[in-house]
Assembly symmetry: C2
């Protein structure tokens, strides 16, 4: 209420001044609206009553304008959010959120059709169950296998040429290139994009992949540059503002000495603390959101929309709290207050010659906000109060916006928070150091990102390419390393938290220490027994339980048959009247490589007649005769190294002692069985010996 | 001979001019020497004979000075080379050459005490031999195993704390960090160093390793910066010249458009061609050098010294061929001719107001040479003739210097060649494009490096950090990619060539296509039969042939015993009177973890008495009971993936069909057995089906 008063007062003073000095407008934004009004004032300026009347009506009209402004802004915000949310909720649930965790999981080998509704997926796919619940768990088992081999592009349009990418490796390479190109396009940081894909996203890395991603980002940046060249005239709206370097701080000459290590270290430590705190809070918020989103599509929608409204209210309302700053006329070539869209000095709700620094930060694009916070040699531009409001607001928005059903990222919010925090720190430390506040803002942003995302090299290069100041490199590196190290003391990186929350079976680089205390044999024991087939098998048996491994009667391991291939055989009715071996050529003429690469099919689609059930199938040609195997006495840790490094889907366990009577396969392990969480759910006693994972 | 004449003439003209204009010196370098002489001339200037006499004596004295200069330079060069060569030949042969291939091999898992004398090593270690030569090859086999587990630090000083790095992984991490720090210090490019270690050097990569290398380079760059801060006063000689950015071209504002893609593509293609040509020639030269170096230490020494003399002659002699350029007085703040050590306009053998551009390039440090070639907005500074001589000279020197017994690198020579070639191209293309010649030089250097070393991302970042011009990034990326692609069409990268030449068993990322046509069983067949032991074995048998695998009589695979551990048992005389199992505790109190990590020991050091030969040893506690195994029917390609990805040293081959009578181990494969070259030497028929490796 009182700020309304303040508003009224300031308006009043304005009017008086504008009456005295022959100036017929005081607000560039509302210029055209006021002119007639003020003209009228002047005509009647002899009559005090009239002036009062004018004042009042004028103040009302001002309120009215600000109200209209808010309605327009909030309305646009609401509509856009509505469209995005509806699309995400009804058509593409996987489009919500940043998507990086899903990509990370996919490149790790996780391959489930809808990576999103985690509970369902986890309950369906957890491979380990006590023996007594065999039947049900066998079903789960099969179910799990049946969803595994399906590919994301199976329920999309199929072009002919897509067939060439119909193997995992090419698909993974494509996705890696895509992610790097995305980062490249977002930050105009080609090398940063490559490094991001390398450090954060990809699991397996080949030098070939390295220069393929590099090539894709090169194409992106060349195209980007060409388009910017074209858009220089400014007829592409906001696109291409700032040129190829977004937040250029190359102007400042960095002067720092050994003593400046101390403030730099402080930035790093605080950034690490704030980052891990942010991760912690975000984890909590996302848990709450999961509960809400479970309630149904309507809840999802309402949640998103309420967040959108809250955002508009804050962005538009908070600037009224900021007190107006007088323009510093000493600054060269700066128009203050700003006229037009961009600029550092927005005159929002302020008299002439004054500017509203909070409005400058809030009522603009995020890029411009970052630019103004990074701006160099402007020590008095923002006061602590406004910066703090900005920081707090973006912390809240960053936390509550991330989980809603809208495509949203992490980078820019964290950069905004971090830069604000860095600049605050810079103001606080200004007596003690000679580093510019703008650089503090840059370092703050870097530290917060490192503290939350725990990346080092890629962030360093991204910031180098964002700010184009090579001399900043040494301190940036220090800040990043300190922040990452501090953050790692408290919780894992934000992406790992989200992965864990989504229940995606992500295989970590190195196994937990306690995995050395359990053997794969013990794991296999608690799993349902493996269903086995003879080399030449009755159709009936195949239909009844589609199996995994196929050693024949003579107690030797033939190899592995993919479930998809068995279903393919059944669908194509490739049956034999008598029990005989088939030749390679018979297979070749029946199945194309594309058929075999095909997944999607399910057992439900198969119709087999009664007498077909009595016919035979020769599985030999379809068998992978040399699967990777481990001995049952091998520790899970050791087996996991094999599983992850070679990138397996299933690993066959052989018995320790092989003899005539012994069954040649102890069991089969899949990704699900090697997830630490799943193992601990069956072997809780390992929890005790569970140590915190180090060196990662 | 004729250039001596030219010299004389030019001197003569100089004298005359100096006589006419009242100037008592014409050569800042030889200033103090001439003054008295010239004074004499002027006193006798009435007598023509005297003048002639003066001329002659003066010319002689000039010859004498240039001669002295040459002697000093060549002498210093000779002495330094002598010291380096003697050290390399007699004490540290591994110090010669760039060392990157050896590090690459070590990080790939190759671990032989002296990686250098390749013939010996290859003949000793090639694992595959026809069966008929069993005995000898068994010996070779053991020999091979006996040298394998030895560590490089075994014949260095042993500090207590070094024990903590006594496992392969930590040692590899340390070496990776070291290599990245080295590149970082050499080019003042921290991120580039990390990427170099990642892209070129390391084989296995973990995110932990990534940020460890990053940390090490961060420390390096911070220290570097502090020392430079200290050395600003210039009392550290040449160190720290150019500051943190070596070849700064950030001054120029890069203006290029779509049409400039064409010259950029041309640079890339030519760079790729030249680079692969360089690799080809270097391969030939190194082969010749190998023959010479085989002849003994003296030959090595003589080779190095003759190369050094040749270098001095060229560097000092060639500038006499260049014709003097008139100083361009229009250039701002440049002193021409240069006074003092650095500067772009050396007045070598030129009259006043003229400079010798070839001398500017040759008679200075390499860094300064690169800086002058990279210099912007100096289109007329170097003429084509001098640049071409420079280019040709460095091609020759680069080829003949690399192989000599002196620590030498590849980076700077290639940068020099490339920059010269780029600048030549720039001059040739100047009518058609607006890109500055200096940028052409930068791009030329980049293209030649990519064409020879085939790196992309790391080179891109290194060049970014060398030149500090972010706007160059897009075209640099294009040039690098084009050059690499063109180069890959002709031959592998320079490092792979050297690896192959040294016969280091480097396991490539992905197996050759033809490896799918051969099974590990076939490989095992041509290898000597595995020597096996019982679980509890007579000392005598162990001493006679120290074995590899140890399945006992009951036809089951116990596991793998390291040769080193067997020797340890023999040395420590850990013998049992009767055939009994020992407890864990007995082992623990006998062997410390450090003992077991110990390698070095050889069977020759073991002395066993006659009746000890009859005693027993329980091998169970020392056995690795769960080695990684493959079935004999698995293809070599598939087995190699396991071997390399998991980073094995030996892989046990199990029989396809296991029954009572069947021997449980078919054979053991080691790194040597999986090297393409070795396999082809035994199975030449695969050569036919050998396809060129694509997508590397």
């Amino acid at each position: 209420m009182e700020d309304i008063y303040k508003l009224v007062e300031s308006e009043a003073t304005n009017i008086e001044r504008t009456d005295e000095e022959e100036d017929d407008h005081f607000d560039p934004e509302t210029n055209n609206l006021h002119q007639p009004l003020l003209k009228r004032n002047r005509t009647l300026s002899s009559n005090p009553l009239a002036i009062v009347g004018a004042k009042v009506s004028h103040i009302e009209s001002l309120d009215y304008e600000y109200l209209m402004g808010f309605i327009f802004m909030a309305g646009a915000n609401f509509l856009l959010t509505l469209v995005a949310a509806v699309l995400c909720v009804c058509f593409a649930p996987t489009a919500a959120g940043p998507g990086i965790p899903e990509i990370k999981a996919y490149l790790n080998g996780v391959d489930t059709p809808n990576m999103f509704d985690n509970r369902k997926h986890r309950s369906r796919c957890r491979g380990l169950r006590p023996r007594k619940r065999r039947a049900s768990s066998t079903h789960r088992q099969l179910h799990c296998f049946s969803i595994r081999p399906r590919r994301p592009d199976n329920y999309r349009i199929k072009w002919r040429w897509l067939r060439y990418f119909n193997n995992d490796r090419d698909r993974r390479d494509l996705i890696t290139c895509g992610s790097s190109s995305g980062v490249c396009a977002a930050f105009r940081a080609p090398v940063g994009g490559v490094l991001f894909a390398l450090e954060e996203v990809a699991t397996w890395w080949r030098s070939a992949l390295l220069w393929r991603t590099f090539f894709s980002t090169a194409v992106v940046v060349v195209v980007l540059r060409a388009v910017m060249e074209y858009c220089k005239s400014g007829d592409c709206g906001l696109f291409g503002k700032g040129g190829l370097i977004m937040f250029d701080v190359s102007g400042v000459s960095v002067r720092y000495h050994v003593v400046d290590i101390i403030p730099v270290a402080v930035i790093g430590v605080l950034g690490g603390l704030l980052g891990s705190l942010y991760n912690h809070l975000l984890h909590k918020v996302l848990k709450v959101y999961n509960v809400i989103n479970k309630k149904g599509k309507l809840h999802k929608l309402l949640l998103s929309l309420s967040v959108s409204i809250f955002t508009s209210v804050c962005l538009y309302g908070l600037p009224f709290l900021a007190k107006c700053q007088p323009c510093d006329t000493s600054l060269p070539n700066t128009t203050c207050p700003t006229t037009g869209r961009d600029g550092n000095f927005k005159q929002f709700n302020c008299p002439k010659g004054y500017y509203n620094d909070l409005a400058t930060l809030l009522l603009t694009t995020n890029d411009d906000a970052v630019r103004s916070i990074f701006s160099i040699n402007t020590p008095t531009e923002f006061n602590i109060f406004s910066l703090f409001i900005f920081f707090a607001l973006y912390c809240i928005l960053g936390l509550i916006t991330f989980g809603i059903a809208v495509p949203s990222g992490l980078f820019l919010p964290i950069i905004l928070m971090g830069s604000a925090y860095g600049r605050l720190l810079g103001i606080a430390m200004s007596p003690y150091t000679k580093i510019d506040q703008g650089l503090y803002a840059v370092l703050g942003a870097a530290s917060l990102m490192a503290g939350s995302m725990r990346m080092t090299v890629s962030l360093c290069v991204i910031f180098l390419e964002l700010t184009n100041n090579l001399l900043l490199l040494p301190i940036t590196m220090l800040v990043l390393l300190i922040a990452k190290t501090v953050g790692d003391c408290f919780n894992p990186s934000i992406y790992e938290i989200i992965l864990e929350l989504k229940g995606l079976p992500f295989l970590d680089a190195n196994p937990e220490p306690w995995m050395r205390n359990i053997t794969v044999g013990e794991l296999a024991d608690v799993k349902p027994a493996v269903v086995t087939l003879n080399g030449i098998e009755k159709v009936g048996r195949i239909v009844n339980y589609t199996p995994i491994g196929s050693p024949n009667g003579a107690n030797e391991l033939h190899g592995l048959v993919l479930r998809a291939h068995l279903i393919l055989v059944l669908k194509k009715k490739w049956f034999l009247q008598e029990r005989r071996r088939t030749g390679e050529w018979e297979v070749r003429e029946k199945f194309t490589s594309i058929d075999l690469a095909e997944r999607g099919a399910t057992i439900e689609e198969v119709i087999v007649t009664k007498d077909e059930m009595e016919m035979y199938v020769d599985l030999h040609p379809l068998t992978n005769t040399t699967p990777y195997t481990v001995v049952e006495s091998m520790s899970v840790a050791k087996a996991m190294v094999l599983f992850r490094q070679v990138g397996l889907r299933h690993m066959i366990i052989l018995p320790k002692y092989q003899a005539a009577g012994v069954f040649p396969v102890v069991g089969i392990l899949t990704r699900q069985d090697l997830i630490a969480h799943n193992i601990l759910s069956v072997f809780p006693h390992l929890e005790r010996s569970k140590g915190t994972k180090k060196g990662q």
